[in-house]
């Protein structure tokens, strides 16, 4: 093969490998979302999991809750800190969104940043949107 073709191909390969670097130079990367406690959550200060566990593990907890509610109609969850909660994403005062009132901040900001599209909202609705 002609040497020029090989070098052209090699240059394209290097550009592709370095794409994460130059992509963020030509576009302005979105800043990482800063988690903050708003509304009722800011005053209540008790949650189903502790902070790191909540960030890493909330999806598994919601998954077990779903099975528990749908299959054995058990809606009561007692957290490690002794408080009990209603196993619900969006219904009532004692649910996730009952305390963390702002879905855009509590759910969407991180999900958008990490490019996660959970299918929770295909069935559930944000209580704020109904009103």
């Amino acid at each position: 093969m002609k040497k020029n073709y090989i070098i052209a191909g090699l240059a394209i390969f290097v550009i592709i490998v370095l794409s994460p670097f130059w992509f963020n130079m030509v576009t302005t990367p979105m800043a990482a979302p800063k988690p903050e406690l708003l509304g009722k959550a800011a005053t209540t200060k008790k949650c189903v999991l502790d902070k790191y566990d909540m960030r890493a593990n909330h999806m598994s907890l919601l998954d077990t809750w779903r099975d528990s509610v749908v299959r054995s109609s058990d809606r009561k969850y007692t957290a490690a800190n002794g408080h009990s909660f209603n196993m619900s994403l969006s219904t009532g005062e004692n649910s996730c969104l009952g305390c963390h009132e702002d879905k855009a901040k509590f759910c969407d900001s991180c999900h958008t940043y990490a490019s996660v599209t959970p299918y929770c909202w295909e069935c559930h609705t944000n209580p704020k949107e109904i009103q």
Binding site: K3, L10, A114
Partner: protein, 335 residues
């Protein structure tokens, strides 16, 4: 037990432990998370470019395409365009199919003795290496592309589509990605083939097992982080975005498993240009595939040919004419 796979296996275990204990015990997050990955990218690109340059400046003196079909001949004889290309366009098509579909692997055969009484040596079509290789390479590609979500913000739509199709079975939370499972299964299959098929086992060296074990360990640690032990994804994305924008930060609370994952990926990148994994670049340059078989239509002169000093018959006769005439030998020119 066989040292050819025990040594690579032990090495991969050690690599994992070095990073895991280095972070959990010694708090070396900066080294394993920032310094080493940057070094790995430099070593990978430098090594890759060096290797390909070396190949590019090697002479390819002979036209040696391997062909598996009818050559271009008289107009009423049908040519096999893909397996015996005679123009650059057909070579391009052949290369494209080779690179994306591994056609030469598809033709893989195996030799075995018949299991019946005749016990004759027989050759049969063996498709599983091709299937395993195809599953492995494509799932690895998808896994690598999916990881770009950690290096772009906002994530381009093509990556979210890829994630959507990869996670289309919507099993569990976080949802299962098909590519991760296929990657692990395919590498385990390719490993099992090397270990249990005695003929393949006989020709397998440590350099064949090491990348397999390393990729298995990387895939396993990734799967563990996603589905079992769980990590703070936002913290990790802040970290990876810091790496690619040259302002690295160490995330709070992210444990040794993540750094072991990053470290093993970095080792794979450094190892890449030193090893048989360079077939990624080499496949493009294989002289038996990327040449047109047009030796009958076109004269190819070996570029290594230099002007050889020849002594023609005319010169010979000029030299010895007197002596030849004297000895009575016939000559072309009398004077």
């Amino acid at each position: 037990m066989n040292q050819k796979y025990l040594i690579p296996l032990t090495t991969v275990f050690l690599l994992f432990l070095i990073a895991y204990t280095g972070v959990q015990g010694a708090g070396l997050q900066v080294f394993f998370g920032i310094v080493f990955p940057y070094l790995a990218v430099i070593a990978f690109l430098g090594g890759f470019v060096y290797k390909v340059f070396g190949w590019a400046s090697s002479a390819v003196p002979f036209r040696i395409p391997t062909t598996c079909g009818q050559q271009k001949s008289l107009p009423w004889i049908k040519q096999n365009c893909i397996d015996n290309p005679d123009t650059p366009g057909k070579v391009f098509l052949r290369m494209l199919l080779e690179i994306f579909l591994f056609r030469s692997l598809f033709r893989n055969t195996k030799a075995a003795f018949n299991r019946n009484e005749s016990n004759k040596l027989a050759y049969s079509w063996e498709i599983f290496l091709w299937l395993g290789a195809l599953a492995f390479h494509y799932s690895l590609l998808v896994v690598i592309l999916r990881h770009l979500r950690f290096f772009t913000a906002p994530v381009p739509a093509c990556l979210t589509w890829l994630e959507y199709f990869d996670g289309i079975i919507q099993l569990g939370l976080p949802g299962i990605f098909i590519s991760g499972i296929v990657l692990l299964a395919a590498t385990l299959f390719l490993l099992a083939r090397r270990i249990f098929d005695t003929k393949v086992s006989y020709i397998s060296q440590a350099a064949d097992y090491f990348p397999l074990f390393l990729i298995i360990a990387i895939a396993t640690s990734g799967i563990f982080m996603r589905y079992f032990t769980k990590v703070d994804v936002i913290g990790i994305k802040t970290f990876t975005m810091g790496l690619v924008t040259f302002s690295p930060v160490i995330p709070q609370g992210v444990g040794g498993l993540f750094y072991a994952h990053i470290f093993m990926v970095s080792v794979l990148f450094i190892y890449f240009p030193l090893s048989k994994l360079m077939h990624m670049g080499g496949v493009m340059l294989s002289p038996t595939r990327n040449m047109a078989n047009n030796t009958r239509a076109k004269r190819h002169v070996n570029p290594w040919n230099y002007d050889v000093k020849t002594h023609t018959y005319e010169e010979y006769e000029d030299h010895f004419r007197d002596k030849m005439i004297e000895a009575g030998l016939p000559v072309d020119k009398k004077e």
